[in-house]
Amino acid sequence: MLRSLRANALDNGTLYLLVAFVIVFTTLAAYLAYLSRRLRAAQQSLEADAGSAAGEETAGR
């Protein structure tokens, strides 16, 4: 692959291969980042709700 890159410069096939690689892996990384952010938000929301519910229960007593 590297030898071919050096020998033929950047032919169309190599260019489209690199574009495909970049699109696939940046999209996968972006999706992972989206899932991680959504997971963190859900955890924080659950913890905040649990905290306020405990506070209300204490106030109720």
């Binding site: 096939g13 999209t27 899932l35």
Partner: protein
């Protein structure tokens, strides 16, 4: 004390001492194994597999395109299982499996279409052709887009779950059509090279590279799916907690 763990499950013990810690660690381990396998598989795709004599470097797109298509099929199969399970048992966990898999399947099919288009531009000289395989894949993409939209636009959540489950079952019919389209109709798209009636039609090094990539993308799919299910469970637990808090507040005022 009843607490809700990071998976949204209710537990009777303190958080940090329960099975969810093991589950979190297993998920983390799966993540690292996936990263390692992906690094190896990508290295093999670029440096180990030989350059195709006819297609040149563009043939290497195949090592991403085929595994993405395989995990998309797997995702839609899980949508089918989850949808049947939900209509039969009416348990939320089946719907969570189906919904999470559908979202992932749609995302992966988008990548399949993009990588296929890039390969087509190099080999066929066009970004798109109304070829049976490509058209059936686009139809598949629209079916699962419809699945997601049905859930978003139905005002009653239970009705949305039921309607999407029906769509998840009916929509799966397109998966074997996509796979067999190159056999049933005259197509520009290459025939199956692994699941071929005459056995795998690839040299050993190319087949090994493809298999390692299939493993890597399957692990990645499982990792994403587990994370997506964990999010769905947490969000459902948060809704449940809010409902419970509103009930307690109502009783206190009443």
């Amino acid at each position: 004390m009843i607490s809700v763990d990071t998976s949204g499950r209710k537990s009777m013990t303190k958080p940090g001492q329960t099975a969810h810690v093991i589950a979190d660690r297993l998920r983390l381990a799966l993540g690292w194994v996936t990263v390692l396998t992906l690094a190896v598989s990508t290295g093999m795709a670029f440096f180990y597999a030989p350059t195709d004599a006819v297609q040149g470097q563009a043939q290497r797109i195949f090592y991403f395109h085929v595994p993405l298509a395989w995990v998309a099929y797997l995702a839609f199969f899980l949508v089918l299982i989850g949808s049947i399970g939900y209509l039969w048992k009416r348990e939320r966990r089946w719907d969570t499996l189906a919904h999470s898999s559908a979202e992932l399947g749609l995302f992966l099919t988008t990548l399949v279409l993009i990588t296929g288009s890039l390969w087509g531009k190099t080999i066929w000289g066009t970004w798109w052709s109304w070829d049976p395989r490509l058209t059936a894949t686009l139809v598949l993409w629209f079916i699962y887009l419809g699945y997601i939209m049905v859930r978003q636009f139905t005002t009653e959540a239970e009705r949305g779950r039921r309607m999407s489950a029906v769509l998840g079952i009916v929509g799966f019919i397109d998966v074997p059509i996509v796979h067999q389209s190159v056999v049933w109709w005259r197509s520009l798209h290459p025939d199956p090279v692994v699941l071929n009636a005459n056995g795998p039609q690839l040299p050993g090094t190319m087949l090994a590279t493809l298999m390692v990539n299939l493993l890597a993308f399957t692990l990645l799919f499982l990792y994403f799916l587990l994370k997506r299910i964990q999010i769905a469970n947490l969000e459902a637990a948060a809704v449940e907690q809010k409902r419970h808090a509103a009930l307690v507040e109502g009783q206190r005022i009443g």
